[in-house]
Amino acid sequence: MLRAAPKTAGEYVPLVGLRDVAVDYGALRVLQPTDLTIAEGEFLTILGPSGSGKTTILKLIGGFLSPSAGQVSFKAADITGLPPERRPFNTVFQDYALFPHMSVAENVAYSLRVKGASRSERLDEARKALELVGLAGFGDRKVAQLSGGQQQRVALARAIVAKPSLILLDEPLSALDAALRHQMQSFLKSIQRQLGTTFVFVTHDQQEALAMSDRIVVMNVGRIVQIGSPAEIYNDPFNAFVATFIGRNNLLPATPLPEHRDRFTTEIGVVQARSGEAAGVDADCQLAIRPECISVRRRGLELASEQKNRIEGVVREVAFAGTHYGYRVAAGARCTVTLECSGRHNETDGPLSVGEDVEMSFDPQDTRIIRT
């Protein structure tokens, strides 16, 4: 079962490519002309809200859908017109699509049966695959006797048993409860590392995408918006959609001050942005600052460090979230800033309450300018 060692970082071998691929349903264009290259051995996540075209891309790779334009390639070969049964890819479906009239082992070994493998070989491979997903000894059970998490593992075993070049996962964790979902995230990731197989994972859950992926493809309304590592996507969102869809963000309409480098006029006053952020920005834009990057103190108390951006405000909402307190603070005339403070920080002077006057500050290095 164990195959070639996972590709080392930096080794980038294209496996599957989409070239100018577009999909129309009648007059409706659900996927704008799109280019995407998937590298061998990577864990690629396609992230987007419903209707963003992420499942469309999965279907194109799997061969369940023919593009209206463009080309799908595998290594050097054009596979645009190839039906799913002739593509060396297997899929873990959202609802698992396990066959209820077959036992667990028969489900897992179905692709080998289709290929004409002998019964003993099928049983042997099914046993190995089930062992790998932690379901040793479950082969003779009926699918209906398994829990959701176990069915999920059977679906994965069925997808890996024939050693495909690529595994497609269509929101496989969405039916599981939160605790099991977290467990399955690290499990899927470890299986992927162990096998070295390319995983293409579709989800609408940004936390899932950040936790599991080597690269994330962010999609919105039928287009790829940004491609990058989880850290790149989180730290340098390309536009307002990415900035607010992945993690939370305060977006403030901003106008550059012509005579000052990196300074912007906003509703909460003049803000010093990260150096270089203003380069090439001459019109209105948005200034993004993550809630966890803002420090807050009761007005009158000393701030931990002298920071450039200081804003006064009044606490409007307090929400305890276990690891931190979430506050919504009114600042300026029409502006509300969302911020998060860890519980530890609040041990010194206690959590804030609604109506308190506060002073917020943030480091210019934590700001991003989003061009609109």
Partner: protein
């Protein structure tokens, strides 16, 4: 048990007893009794005759062959039709299903006459053969024989076979074919390995519907079967409607009932065996 419970049971059981239990009892009673000017005598002679007469048994054999053939051909035609409806997009399925079962809502007699006009001496097939010059005078090949009974049965009972097949297909998730193909099976292979085993209860029910409906039918054989198309249903009817021998008619009716019940029991076993076998 409260009065309400008793009432509930009465509402449930009374019609059952009245409309099924009573006629069944009457049939049984008629088959073992005969009345002569008010004097009732009990005898097993009629049942014995129904079970031992070579003439009746021969007709029973022919009838079973026709009915089994009806079941097989109806399913063979209804299955692709039901699969076609099932594989349409969800929003077109209700209308496609309606077209499939529309003949169910048409008069039985009209359909039989339509078959006669297709199969008869001046019917469509004869006209076709005459026009194309294959025959020079109308042939009686099509009407008033066992073949014409079979053809009419099939036409009549296809919708009754298609409906249960479609209903069992409807319970098979649409992405199972896709999942099978994803795992390397061709469309036909995925149908055979995944869809048909899961739909097999409906397929067995379809065969059973066609078989039982054909078995009891005495009008169709009379209308399109002619003298050579004698079936068991016709014999039963003739004892009641022509010979006024209710006792023999009832005894023959019981034979028909036993065959039907046996077919029902057999189909239950077949259904389970089929699902298990096809999954291997």
């Amino acid at each position: 048990m409260s009065a309400r419970h008793i009432l509930t049971y009465l509402v449930a059981i009374l019609p059952l007893g009245l409309f099924i239990g009573y006629p069944l009892g009457a049939l049984l009673w008629s088959s073992v009794s005969t009345s002569n000017e008010g004097a009732v005598t009990y005898t097993l002679a009629f049942l014995a005759e129904a079970l031992s007469s070579p003439a009746y048994l021969a007709v029973l054999g022919v009838t079973l062959v026709i009915c089994i053939a009806t079941a097989i051909i109806s399913v063979a035609i209804a299955l692709p039709m039901a699969l076609f409806v099932w594989s349409r997009p969800a929003r077109y399925q209700p209308i496609a299903l309606l077209v499939l079962i529309l003949p169910m809502f048409m008069s039985y007699i009209v359909k039989i006459y339509t078959m006669r006009s297709l199969l008869g001496l001046n019917g469509f097939f004869n006209q076709l053969l005459l026009t194309t010059g294959i025959v020079d005078k109308p042939t009686t090949l099509f009407l008033f024989n066992r073949g014409s009974i079979l053809a009419t049965f099939v036409v009549l009972y296809i919708p009754f076979a298609a409906l249960p097949i479609y209903l069992s297909l409807e319970r098979v998730p649409a992405n199972f074919v896709l999942a099978g193909r994803d795992l390397g099976a061709s469309y036909a292979r995925a149908l055979k390995d995944i869809v048909l085993p899961l739909a097999s209860p409906g397929i067995v029910a379809a065969a059973l519907f066609a078989f039982i409906l054909a078995l009891g039918d005495f009008v169709t054989p009379q209308m399109v079967g002619g003298p050579s198309g004698m079936t068991f249903g016709r014999i039963v009817w003739s004892q009641f409607g022509l010979a006024f021998n209710y006792s023999l008619g009832a005894a023959l009716g019981i034979v028909l009932l036993v065959v039907t019940v046996a077919a029902l029991a057999g189909s239950g076993l077949a259904s389970r065996a089929l699902t298990a076998r096809m999954g291997r």
